[in-house]
């Protein structure tokens, strides 16, 4: 399959990292980054001055950041800070909202994701998404996984593919004897891992997760978090979470968004406050607003 979005294979142990242009305007891309620092890895996304409006209402203002390969990037912040709006721009999910307007640039492996010749369906194959509420199809466990690849013509060795991704999503042992049963019979945590398996079945490059564990109990949450650690070997992951400790546990990089009140005192929009290594954000953030948020002194 050849598209406008062909990307190099994603593999942590893969080819030598390409040289990266340093843009001094970018937060978090600082001198002194060590070789193990994820910021030295290729930028899968380069987001430039991204603003999103719904109708006349500005939701997110002027966001510039890079998302690095084989890293987990977490987006945290209070409600209304634009973090979900932001990650929905990364696979053009906002296209489905009639009055959403996206300004600025989202470069995906150097290509403009919003260029007129880019097929949104192909974008969403490359850049999969997992939502807050597990949303399996009302079909068998097997068909939930097989559906996407079948639609994309990836029919070869489909059974093997189903097994492989279920193993990868740490679900195989629990469902191998009941693949023909309805997926809605699984527990919430199992359903969410099924959705992650479904996302990776079409061989994406990036997985976006919007609050993937907020509807799950602590044990299921731990499993999802373990899975995220595992998946970043092969995929680039962006996760929105309300749970700050979850961001601290799973993410390499963390972006803190906040709500800015406009001059008229009424209108509010989201802004990126600070973007840095997760360890930095949770031990010694640079911005007072980040400090207040992560220590719970916000509001």
């Amino acid at each position: 399959m050849s598209t406008e979005l062909d990307v190099p294979p994603t593999n942590a142990e893969g080819d030598a990292a390409p040289e990266i242009e340093i843009d001094s305007r970018r937060m978090g891309e600082l001198a002194g980054a060590s070789a193990s620092d994820v910021r030295s890895r290729e930028a899968v996304f380069r987001i430039e001055e991204l603003s999103v409006s719904y109708g006349t209402s500005l939701a997110l203002h002027g966001t510039t950041l890079d998302i690095h390969r084989n890293a987990v990037t977490a987006f945290i912040g209070p409600s209304g800070c634009g973090k979900s709006t932001f990650i929905r721009c990364l696979n053009r999910m906002n296209d489905t909202i009639p009055d959403a307007r996206v300004q600025g640039q989202v470069l995906y492996h150097g290509r403009d994701l919003y260029a007129s010749n880019v097929d949104p369906v192909e974008v969403r194959r490359r850049i999969g998404m997992v939502f807050q509420k597990p949303n399996p199809f009302p079909k068998s466990i097997y068909d939930n996984i097989a559906f996407g690849p079948r639609m994309l013509g990836m029919k070869k060795d489909l059974g093997e593919r189903v097994e492989r991704v279920l193993r990868h999503a740490a679900l195989w042992d629990e469902v191998k004897d009941r693949l023909k049963e309805n997926a809605l019979g699984l527990s919430g945590g199992q359903q969410q891992r099924l959705c992650i398996a479904r996302a990776i079945a079409v061989e994406p490059d990036v997985i976006l997760m919007d609050e993937p564990a907020s509807a799950l109990d602590p044990i299921s949450t731990t499993r999802i978090e373990d899975l995220i650690h595992e998946l970043k070997r092969e995929y680039t992951i962006a996760i929105v979470t309300h749970n700050m400790q979850q961001a601290a546990r799973v993410a390499d990089m963390t972006a803190f968004f906040s709500v800015e009140v406009q001059d008229d005192g009424k209108a509010r929009h989201g802004i990126l406050v600070e973007y840095d290594l997760t360890t930095k954000i949770f031990t010694n953030p640079s911005d007072k607003r980040t400090e207040d948020y992560v220590t719970g002194r916000f509001g």
């Binding site: 949770f282 031990t283 010694n284 220590t295």
Partner: protein
């Protein structure tokens, strides 16, 4: 301000640290007074008083453990808790040094002290007490600049400490005094360690404020 209870717990923890500092200072003062006046009874009091320092230290450690388990502290809260724990360990060690000074003073009580060396040790002790005071105050005030003045004060103590062995060698003409002096070499070492502990507390002030840990002086000091 959200998390009112949590903030109160952190404030209380810091107050506990300052109290631990006060009792540790009381131990140092007691030990130095006992040395100066050759007061064996006071030595026993200093030795017994260490249980109180240990009790306060363990209580503070327990509060730290509970805060870590229950509050998930991050950023400056986490640095404060780590710094308080470090400082508490240093203060507990200062208590132990005071006990050693008191024990040695007791052991040497029947010997003839050398007045010049007593004076030198007393001066060292005063400087060490001043350093601990500065270390605790600068931590409380988050005053990194003041904390950074500690290594210079420590140099003065170190200088006196290096002269002690020479002074004791010079006591060869008076065997009783020299035996006392040999005990005092270890006492000087204890006072010198108290100065080092004060510098360590100062370093925690810098860590708390800046988020980066750096030794104030390298090992050659």
């Amino acid at each position: 301000m959200a998390r009112v209870e949590y903030q109160q717990s952190l404030d209380a923890l810091e107050a506990d640290l300052q109290e631990l500092g006060e009792v540790a200072l009381r131990a140092v003062r007691g030990a130095m007074n006992a040395l100066e006046t050759q007061d064996v009874e006071l030595c026993d009091e200093v030795i017994a008083f260490d249980d109180e320092i240990d009790r306060r230290y363990h209580q503070l450690e327990k509060v730290v453990e509970e805060l870590l388990a229950q509050q998930g502290p991050v950023a400056s809260d986490l640095r404060l808790i780590l710094a308080v724990l470090h400082n508490a360990i240093h203060l507990e060690r200062i208590g132990d040094q005071s006990v050693t000074i008191a024990k040695l003073t007791k052991v040497a009580a029947d010997l003839e002290p050398g007045s010049e060396l007593v004076e030198g040790l007393t001066e060292m002790g005063e400087r060490a007490i001043e350093m601990v005071r500065i270390a605790l105050d600068s931590f409380s005030a988050r005053n990194v600049e003041r904390a950074r003045s500690l290594p210079d004060l420590d140099d003065l103590i170190d200088r006196v400490n290096r002269q002690v062995a020479g002074n004791v060698l010079a006591m060869a003409h008076a065997p009783g005094t020299q035996e006392w002096g040999l005990r005092m070499i270890v006492v000087a070492r204890c006072i010198e360690r108290i100065g080092d502990n004060a510098v360590d507390i100062g370093e925690q002030t810098a860590f708390l404020v800046t988020g980066e840990f750096r030794e104030f002086a390298d090992a050659s000091h």
